[in-house]
Symmetry: D4
């Protein structure tokens, strides 16, 4: 056996284990899902290829695949969405894969989600025009690549906790998302904390914890 | 005039501007405090030297200085501490300056704080022995240098949002806190987000936002 | 002789050689100035210590020293300031040394200068309140440390060329100005180009070239 | 809708939004172009694949594609080229893709362009032989990979503002353009500012701003 | 001849030369194996592609290939496994390729091996549940990617030497295994030493030396 | 209380907790020692300043200080040195502080130690002349700065496990020990594992574990 | 025209321009060669793909291709090899591509070459056994990846100038040749200078200059 | 004894051991010199403080100290300078300490030296005006900080081997000499090899080897 599924995790941290598919074979992912299906809980598999999705589909007809977000979700518990919502604010169209990973995760964790897309700081009026929907959230996820300035600007405009996700969108001195990551870590606005580059899943997970308080 | 105090900040983001003293002269800090005193709000000045404290003391008798945390606080609004609390969990004795910066900030922001110190993963029973106090918090700040593993371990044991603060404690391949920072950003436990190296203030600020939800 | 003063530089690039004092001894700086005084041209010496200034003062009574900007200037040609001006926009009070280096340089090069200080993105209304003075410039210098987001935000609001100066203000994952530098290089706003960290002199020099077109 | 086209950008910063194609799907690029065509303005799409060009061609017969520069341009406003020109000076043949991106951008923005190619510092007489055309420009773009020394050398010979573009040409300790980027940022010649690695578009954009003063 | 097989190595360091296949052509690997077969000793070839295995198979029927671990082994000396054993403890399923490289190496070097897989710190009870088998080892190999915290946690629980292997499992700020490598080098637990990222072979080699004392 | 001394550590990992003095105040070190003295066990305090030593001396007359190695040791248990020994092999005189930290640690942990100093690879005959003493050890610590080549060379000559300690000796592209660290991690010789830069203590600790098998 | 062949280079630096093929199209390489053939001088094209070779072959029947070294050579001047020779010493079989690039370059530049291959420091007797041929050279090229220790060891054994070439052979903390590069730059042996990672051509070029003195 | 002076080094590599003083105590340096004086050979001690010089002076009246270059030399063998010379070409006045270290080393090794100082590429006519003295050398040392472009420019103008020394002169994105180091390693001019940042000694050593061929 190549995996020790953490069955107690739900009791301990409130949610079952999530499958991280990168570096696993299609067979491994399939058989981990197979085992988890016996527990009758929601299942999330991130960084999943289409091939993995097809393999999972064979053993689970209602498995769902968000292609852009590369994420498989299987619903087993009745969803009761929160009234309060998580706002996902993104700088550009190229950041959409990360937005989708975050949104899918947030939703299967039972959260209402509102997306505000393509409001990068190069045209700040687009952001200002959407401030109400952002300010109305209980917690905000900010997704941005390149220089990641969006996190600081939003941080200066709202009084809600912000989970910032740097993305690897960009080239050259972007160094695979480093510019955006450092930018967000050094935010001059208070109330901003950061997760790993492109980690939409992780941002949604902690945002969900906060949204459900 | 060398500063534009952001008077509207409290209305916008719920709290007055905080003074970051590094790179400012003693005179600049003093005169910014002087101006802010006229507003009759709480004042926080981080990364403050003893000399700065003395200068502030001249114009404000009840200014308070946490020497280890290098932070000046001035109270003007009646504190009404939250019932729920923020747990600050730290790996070692050498991380105390960051713990103090975080604790002072959290307290002046009106939060109850519980500290769990010197429970690094090299002796994990110390952590396990304190799980109740940690689990009882509404939000947890984890402070650790060297390899920063404490964030992941705590993350795997609780169902509360974690704000992780890497510290620059260590030497050699620690590269000024980089090892701990990267470690926390790559946490295999979900529910962990990260602020800048040694940024106790920032961690407390967002934790306060969450604690007050 | 330890220096070959580039006397033809003015003819070639429009301005006499500038003395970079770091890494030079007080004696070296003094004797380079001594030689240049014989040419009866304006003299600029950047990164100069107070000790260097005192030594220069001995041989040149009217030498001027900007302590914050660490820059010595000696005027020999009649100043005829431009009508158009360079706006210097800075994020925080801690960035002032770089602002001063830039402003002194721009002025001795014959430019009108307007400063807009402490308008970092954490309180964006401060920036918006000063847009007219910024938009009225022929070229804009943006000075910012930490995450350097100010360059992108200004870049999205004006139709003038921007010279961005990252500063080393910050700590931890700032890595000596790297976060701000990368941020500015990856700006999602067009019209932004970048000079070295803390290089107020260099920004003013190219801004002057543009302002005088 | 996955994009918020910034229609006011032209009013605000003098030019319509530009499409950055990397990280977008072919469909996304096509439908953004489709929307922008309704505005009857010039369109620029950078980092575009041939496949994207074909998709755009379907909805816009006169779309133009510079294969080397990977850039799509669509002209809708009558071009009135400037009298003054932008000189694009490049070190080697391998830098041509960046040169083409810059030249196409500069031209559709309405600038006269003169190219001086393959004049790297290893054979400095080639540069000296072309000094007149370089000196005649209002602003100069210098494109160079490897050690990027060309920017400093040109900077020492002319009295015009230089926008330096480091390229990723090279291998080993070039680290994806880092050597050239750092070199240009540390230029000992004054009057040099820098854009991101391989960012021909950005260099042309700011050069155009300057050229049109 | 393109190789100088180190025939005396066994006498000098106790074991014949091992073939590192990366950067070698299939033909080179095949002909090195061919030569070594004449010596009638065990042969190990790491980082071997399936194609290389097929080529080796042509000249050696009983060559063995561990596909996950990408390692070819050929047995010529009678194995006499040690009584004491090496424990290989791994954080996640994605770390299995490195585990397999280590296990195959340890076994052909004559060591008994016990594997404890998928016991990452996010669910520490899985580790605690397997402490007996880990504590029973003479030496422990800890394999972990992402934040590599497992090495420190195990280090705090056992009194045996630990050889830690960071893996490149992860993304973003993992930087190809750097996060895990730095984490392990900065372990606050004593008794931990580290080999190169993904170097299962190297870890097994030194563990074997220790296990055979 | 600012410290939770890990009293069970000896039972768990075979040795009492060690005090890491960097980042602690003199008072903190003194009072931790004071507490530990009540347990009547050996005490080790690394990275200790002379001032700390003096403070400790006040409460413990027989405290011992190795000035070069910056390490305080207090002996309470009767030493019974091992027959087998640890060889500490160092490249240059400048590496001595690390050698001393390692040697003091190894000795108080009860190991016989043999030092072979100043045998860097620039004069390899010095190393070859001392091979017998090195080969006679049960485990070898190799200490080297600059390019750290010594670890690989020793690794190719002996059949004993090697713990390599990179030192920060050097300048420029040494980057605080990085060159030596990377060198040792990439050793082409098998049987080499690595601890943190300048971590003499850590090397001795694991070497002691191995020596006592 | 996309290239300015540097025809005077031979007069200036003693050798015609060399074509660096990476980043050029097949057509560009072909037409540069075409032009240079009219000058009737030797031609070298490095980093050339097989496809490029085929294109060159069409216009030059006697073009020669070293597949391992990825280098095209065309001889037009009568070779008169030097009596003195360049020794090329390489650590492992995987370093052969760089060795071949260096050897081909050295030979067409008219130098006698002696290769000593696979003598890495893990088996130092292989090096010692070949000392005579190495010591007999006028200048030595040392090629090594991984930890690059070979340069220092050879440097300590001979009194000839050494040109060290780090290679990208390795993985993990090798970081694309960085470990070997830093190692060679920090060599504790005197008489070692370094060229870029994998730059066999550059090493041969300067070695040829020295060999011909 | 803390040092094993390498007495055979002169026989092996043609020159006695050189003392690297950084990281050694004054006493250590003094006693190494004391021992070496008994051999009656020239002595070189690099990176020596004034205090070390004074200590050496006590036991050796005719010890010489170059304060700028921080190097102690003691002459015991009759100098017979070479006819051919080493040219040391430096970019700026701030590079003088490295120039002096190189020049002193070259001279005590018996070489004629010609210095060409302050000829950085920002004023290339200064370099061109000194081409004769540079071209007349047998080997050239190029010393430059900041962007280190001088090495490439000289490399394109002469047919002599160049040893390039990057210096740590600069600030910000200079990163302690990294910009200049990478620049020189990526030189587009052939015939350039590189030593460590600020390593004037090492450059002179290999230049001396070449000059004496
Ligand atoms: N020089 C050293 N290098 C690395 N780790 C050390 C060193 N000295 C002590 N330690 C470790 O640091 C731990 C104490 O950390 P702290 O709780 O902050 O005092 C000890 O248990 C040791 O395992
Ligand atoms: N996209 C993701 N990014 C970061 N962590 C993840 C991601 N998806 C899953 N995880 C975490 O990785 C753990 C599983 O790792 P493994 O045992 O290797 O399958 C899960 O428990 C999650 O906490
Ligand atoms: N400034 C320097 N830079 C680099 N290496 C040096 C320098 N000075 C001396 N060395 C080398 O360092 C060796 C001495 O190192 P150590 O045994 O630590 O004294 C000498 O043999 C020289 O080869
Ligand atoms: N996976 C591996 N990682 C690190 N070193 C290895 C590995 N496999 C083999 N080696 C070492 O590489 C040497 C062979 O290098 P080469 O001469 O290039 O074939 C062997 O003697 C081993 O010590
Ligand atoms: Mg957009
Ligand atoms: Mg402790
Ligand atoms: Mg402010
Ligand atoms: Mg060319
Ligand atoms: Mg798992
Ligand atoms: Mg020595
Ligand atoms: Mg080999
Ligand atoms: Mg100068």
């Amino acid at each position: 056996v190549f995996a020790k599924i953490d069955n107690h995790r739900e009791i301990r941290v409130g949610y079952p284990e999530v499958i991280y598919c990168e570096g696993k074979t299609v067979e491994q992912v399939k058989s981990i899902v197979e085992f988890m299906l016996t527990k009758n809980k929601n299942i999330i598999a991130t960084r999943a290829s289409e091939e993995m999705y097809k393999a999972v589909k064979e053993i689970c007809e209602d498995a769902n695949y968000n292609k852009l977000g590369r994420i498989i979700t299987i619903r087993r518990t009745e969803e009761k969405y929160t009234d309060s919502y998580i706002a996902i604010v993104a700088a550009g169209t190229s950041d959409l894969p990360v937005v989708e990973e975050a949104a899918e995760t947030a939703k299967i964790l039972g959260n209402r989600v509102e997306k505000v897309i393509d409001v990068g700081v190069a045209g700040i009026h687009r952001l200002l025009a959407n401030l109400d929907i952002i300010r109305g959230a209980k917690v905000i996820i900010v997704v941005a690549g390149m220089e990641g300035a969006l996190a600081s600007v939003v941080g200066g405009l709202v009084d809600k906790p912000i989970i910032a996700v740097p993305t690897s969108v960009g080239y050259g001195a972007n160094f695979g998302g480093l510019s955006s990551l450092l930018s967000m870590l050094n935010s001059c606005a208070s109330g901003v904390s950061v997760v790993n580059i492109d980690n939409g899943f992780g941002a949604a997970y902690i945002a969900s914890m906060i949204n459900k308080i």
